[in-house]
């Protein structure tokens, strides 16, 4: 857990707040019931909001002292209770209650947008909430000063109901608009998160959006003199009360989640393999967005189960990280929804239950990473060898071969000049014959080192030449657009040349079909003959070298050779 923990509030503070909350709620309840003009349902609905908000706020403050969300929720609960003072028949509490009439709605807006860290995330959100507070408090007082809200109002300065009505319309419509904007903010955040939310969190956010929508509907209908206003008001109060309950249910859910750890234990004991481990953990944590990373000390990096390096998310990424350790060393990291940080016990329990399986996963990731490393170094060795052979071929071509050709020409010309001397001519001719033989040998060596025609002119031209030298007629079909990467060309060339050499030696084939094609990101080389078959498909000797070349490029080589059924060699190499 990465948390710069602020100390949770002391129990006595929490108890004091709880008592104050109950007293306030009880007081407002008594006031409401004492007022004959107020229906009992209305009073109960206010308690329905105020008590759960204070309770949920207390739990939130205790569990997440770093977040101001708890304090905000408590404030919302108290503000709701205080607004009930408007039911009082004495002027002072009545006036105070009136001042708090609209404020709770804005505090709830603030809570919704500040979830879960307790702070607003952008300038835009801060401006929205600030305007809403101004509208809820300043315009409320202005409205009261202009006598927009009935008798017993101590702040009445003049009697201008028309102006008061205008102020109220502006107040309600502007807060409605801000609530709708708030729904937009919630929706945008959810889309940007780009990963599934944990179910309790999704439920909670939905309740926020619904609450905002109801507040907007309530305030708009308040300006329109709708006949069903009372129904809308009650529905709104009912909906607003759902959020703190959803919040508490989420926490309860988390307690229940710990029983899922037991299931996890059973599941992992039956099958401690890393396969499906992520899904099992995601189920136990009820976080579908969960991913795992394993620590590879040899590479000093985090990696996924396939050994591919991964970066742990930073503190600003909207993801949280829980490190799992064993004997003081990193084993794995759970990358999860930050909401899970509310449930450190659950994370610890799941981490402990999955210990062995995670260690297995770590070993598998390490093995895969080693394998990848090995593959890479094999490719590098083959490539280095290839480069060296290319260099040697070039040196032979530009050096010894050229000199021998020039020397041979020199001898020929000398022989022409010495045409009268039969013995000298004969000796020169013999020497020239030696040179020709040397040239032939050199040519065979150099071509074996590297087919220069391949780098110069591409696969098709190079294959035409070896096809021409095959004793069995070759149907050659090369369908490629443009050149392939050099190492792939070289590997493909050797697959064909080695196969044709094998066919010439063993197959007694009548015809050979050679096909080179590229489908999407796969180069396929196929050599098929109609010979005697029965070749050693265990990739013995010659074929092993070919398979090495092909596998070094992440490809694979397969051979089919049923006795009497010809031989088919197929190489597939990925090629971007």
């Amino acid at each position: 857990m990465v948390a710069d923990a602020r100390e949770p509030p002391s129990v006595s503070v929490l108890q004091a707040i709880a008592v104050a909350g109950l007293v306030t709620a009880g007081g407002s309840f008594a006031l409401g019931m004492a007022n004959e003009d107020v229906s009992g349902i209305q009073v109960l609905l206010l308690e329905w909001i105020s008590i759960p908000y204070v309770a949920a706020g207390l739990v939130a403050w205790w569990r997440r002292p770093d977040s101001r969300l708890g304090a905000l929720m408590i404030a919302g609960g108290f503000a709701t209770a205080v607004s009930a003072l408007a039911f009082a028949s004495y002027s002072l509490p009545h006036t105070v209650g009136l001042v708090f009439d609209i404020l709770p709605a804005v505090i709830f807006l603030h809570v919704y947008l500040a979830f879960p860290e307790g702070r607003l995330r952008s300038q835009f959100e801060r401006i929205l909430v600030a305007i809403a507070y101004v509208a809820a408090i300043s315009l409320q007082i202005l409205k009261m000063a202009l006598d927009g809200v009935g008798p017993h109002n101590l702040v009445k300065l003049s009697e201008r109901p028309g102006a008061a009505h205008t102020v109220e319309t502006v107040q309600l419509l502007s807060i409605s608009a801000i609530c709708l904007a708030g729904i937009g903010v919630l929706a945008t955040r959810r889309r940007q998160a780009g990963r599934p939310l944990r179910r309790p969190v999704a439920l909670l956010i939905n309740s926020f959006a619904l609450g905002l929508l109801m507040i907007a509907v309530l305030f708009v209908s308040g300006t329109l003199d709708v006949s069903q206003f009372l129904v809308i008001q009650r529905a709104t109060l009912l909906v607003i009360g759902i959020s703190p309950i959803a919040f508490l249910v989420g926490l309860l859910d988390a307690r229940l989640a710990r029983s899922a750890v037991g299931d996890l234990f059973v599941e992992l004991r039956a099958d401690p393999s890393p396969v499906g481990l992520r899904d099992a953990l995601a189920r136990a944590l009820r976080d579908p967005s969960l991913t795992l990373a394993y620590w590879l000390p040899e590479f000093e990096t985090w990696a996924d189960i396939d050994g591919r390096p991964v970066q742990l998310p930073g503190s600003q990424s909207g993801r949280a990280t829980t490190l799992i350790e064993r004997d003081g060393a990193h084993v794995a990291a759970l990358l999860h929804d930050p909401g899970l940080e509310d449930e450190p016990e659950l994370l610890a329990a799941v981490g402990a239950a999955a210990g062995i399986a995670l260690e297995n996963g770590r070993l598998q990731a390490e093995q895969k990473a080693n394998l990848e490393e090995l593959k890479g170094s094999r490719a590098r060795v083959i490539e280095a060898g290839q480069k060296e052979r290319q260099r040697l071929e070039r040196n032979l071509h530009d050096g010894a071969q050229q000199r021998l050709v020039a020397l041979s020409l020199e001898l020929s010309m000398l022989k022409r000049h010495l045409a009268d001397d039969a013995q000298a001519s004969q000796q020169l001719e013999r020497a020239r014959g030696e040179i020709t033989a040397s040239l032939e040998e050199l040519r065979a060596v150099a071509r074996g080192l590297h087919p220069a025609v391949l780098s110069g002119h591409g696969l098709e031209v190079a294959l035409q030449s070896i096809a021409a030298h095959s004793p069995a007629p070759v149907q050659l079909s090369v369908t490629l657009e443009g050149r392939l990467p050099e190492q792939i060309e070289v590997a493909a060339y050797y697959v064909v040349s080695e196969s044709l050499a094998n066919i010439a030696k063993h197959a007694q084939a009548g015809t050979v079909r050679v096909e080179v094609s590229r489908a999407a990101e796969l180069v396929v080389v196929e050599v098929v003959d109609d010979g005697v078959g029965g070749a050693d498909t265990e990739l013995g000797s010659g074929l092993r070298g070919l398979a090495d070349r092909v596998e070094a490029h992440g490809g694979r080589l397969r051979v089919w050779s049923p006795p009497g059924g010809g031989t088919r060699v197929r190489a597939e190499m990925p090629c971007e």
Binding site: E410, S412, M413, A452, V453, S455, S465, A468, S470, P473
Partner: protein
Amino acid sequence: MRVAIAEDSVLLREGLARLLGEAGFDVVGQCGTGDDLLLKVRSYTPDVVIVDIRLPPTHSDEGLRAALEIREKYPSVGVLVLSQYVELGLALKLLADSAEGVGYLLKDRISDVDDFLAAVRRVADGGSALDPLIVSALISRQRADDPLARLTAREREVLELMATGSSNQGIADKLVITLRAVEKYVSSIFGKLGLPSSGSESRRVLAVLLFLQS
């Protein structure tokens, strides 16, 4: 006869120039790159160029590209390509659709001075010269229902020489037979292989080559 040479090995280039000079050719240009060769061709319009297939700077296909460009832009200039290896694929690329005024020989052939000079003259005159290695590889391959089996030993010899670009007179000289006899063999071969007998000697090179390759 005017000839230009592109060969990056100085030793070989000068040997070639001396050989051609002594044989009565007018060596109008010697250079080491394909670009220089194109300049020389533009300035001197030689009858024939001799070009190494691997030239600087990358020693991959510069020589071949210069040869193809000359064939396209200056069809009257014969092009004889020399190489340390002979590749059928390259020969097909070089000939494309005409064997007129084109040759492709192994470098070793230079020291068979008489044959080499004859090949240079043939290419300069619009004929062709294809390395025997290519032809023999094609002729010796096995074929199902081999039409070549219908040829007599002598006819096979004539076919091989024909495919390398030898003229009828050249074949007659080589096999020490009369020109009349060569003509008889040629028409018999074309008949047996089912090829249309075309007049020009360079055109039949391509026909025979394509037949052998298929």
